[in-house]
Amino acid sequence: MDLKQLKIKLGKLVLDTPVLPASGTFGYGDELQDVTDYKFLGAIITKTLTWEQTQGNPPPRIWEFENGLMNSIGLQNIGVRCFASEKLSCLKKLKKPIIVSVGGKSPEDILKCIEFLDRKNGISAFELNLSCPNIKTSKIISEDPRSTFNIIKKAKKITDKIIIAKLSPNVRDICETGIAAEEAGADILCAVNTYKGLYYDWNNKKMYTGGVSGSMIFPMALRAVYELYQKVSIPIIGVGGISSEKRALEMIFAGASAIGLGTFLIINPELPMKICKFLIDYLKTNHTNLQSIIGLYNEKRQKETDC
């Protein structure tokens, strides 16, 4: 399989393939080598790191639906400083762009992480997790365009590295936060994080809140990317319930320059390989290239063609 034609530029971020892991389902980046072939992945992305080590939420943390999953991990992680000293050097050996996801209870915490990691070699981009639905003590930044704008503006002053804004879908209009992120200088948008959900456990008669992923969120995630593509001009990483090769291509047709696999990377570790193969076949059959099919069936592109 000749992967060369799948090379794609998202602004300054150059990816070997448009298939990325989604933060939170990929550990610190090097742990899935026993199950999935990294050559089909465009980059490495860490789980969200916070300034201090974070214990996470008390169990249970996982609930299963017929076609999806709800989680409430609560950003359990070893903290950025421990990550930098213990994990970063292993990731560099993988020879892929390294995207570090950063988060925290306050904007200040997130900025502190960026400031610290900015001095380390080997990191290509920061993904600002502005949208974790499972931190109960703080407001979700990307549910508010103003807060989104402010943190990205500050982050851009601290670092020259690429800034990816991971957006929450739990908003009235995701374009408002997407536009705010672009205006503040974000280089790339990542849409979407998990949807707020509720689970009733019949055994212990309790209700739990969490973030929902899996095939059940795909239509909404696709719509979010579709609408963002019409309103912003920076590249979009489309994430949310992509379960097959066709779903990945649909996300690209809607406007995604790259796609993120979370839940289904775990369920089907061969999915990155299958998507790459499918994309190559598609491009060949249709005598086209990857760049040309981004947003191909989005209303925005259709109008441009009409003119």
Binding site: G24, T25, F26, G27, E31, L32, Q33, D34, V35, T36, D37, K47, Q55, G56, P58, P59, P60, R61, I62, W63, E64, F65, E66, N67, G68, L69, N71, I73, Q76, G214, I266, I267, P269, E270
Partner: protein, 251 residues
Amino acid sequence: MKKHKIMQVLSKKIYKEKFVELFLENDLTPFPRPGQFLHILTGGAFIRRPLSIAGCTENSVRILFEIKGKGTKKLSEISKGQYLDIVGPVGNNFPLPDRKKEISLVAGGMGLAPLLFLASQLISEKMNFKFFYGARDKGHLLDFLLPKGDYKKFISTDDGSDGEKLTVVEMFERKLNNEKTDIVFAAGPYQMLKALSEICRNNNIEAYVSLENIMFCGLGVCQGCVTETINGYKRVCRDGPVFDHREIKWT
């Protein structure tokens, strides 16, 4: 990839209508150790099901499970010659004990599965041990699956329909005076393990317990299956499933 495999079903047996034993071709690397599990896509549920390895030879891997929900129901319908999507072997293992120690295996219900594998290993290492096994009632008792060998077996059911009318933990405690134990390896429901842990603590017995939990990744990356320990939240899939009982904060 090394731990993601498509493995063929070599044979299937169903006991007492709801217990399923599968032998799969052994394509696993590294060679599994007692306590480890396979994370299996059942086709009937969204996420994989973690199932203990109940035995292993050069050619085959044995799993044993109870039909409980949609996932295990679908898995029970697989036929000889069909294939399963597996991640494994994953998890840690029971530590191999010192030969001089008095060893007891304590299994409650389907906790039998990993201990069958451990018992076979101890037999092949020519180590002495005692096997305590209890189930809810006769309909749930699979004592005929215990490996042949020169070791003492103690069987109980909660309702007394077979073996002694005791829980397996009560039986273990009552025999302590006559059947000396230095180290316990146990698997079974959480409340059973909790009760056993207390007895081991009171009698200064070393114990390793295999915990169960709903799991998503099974590889340690998602942090979904944690249990609270004296050293913070630990992942049942990767730091376990076998834990020193003193490490667990029982709830």
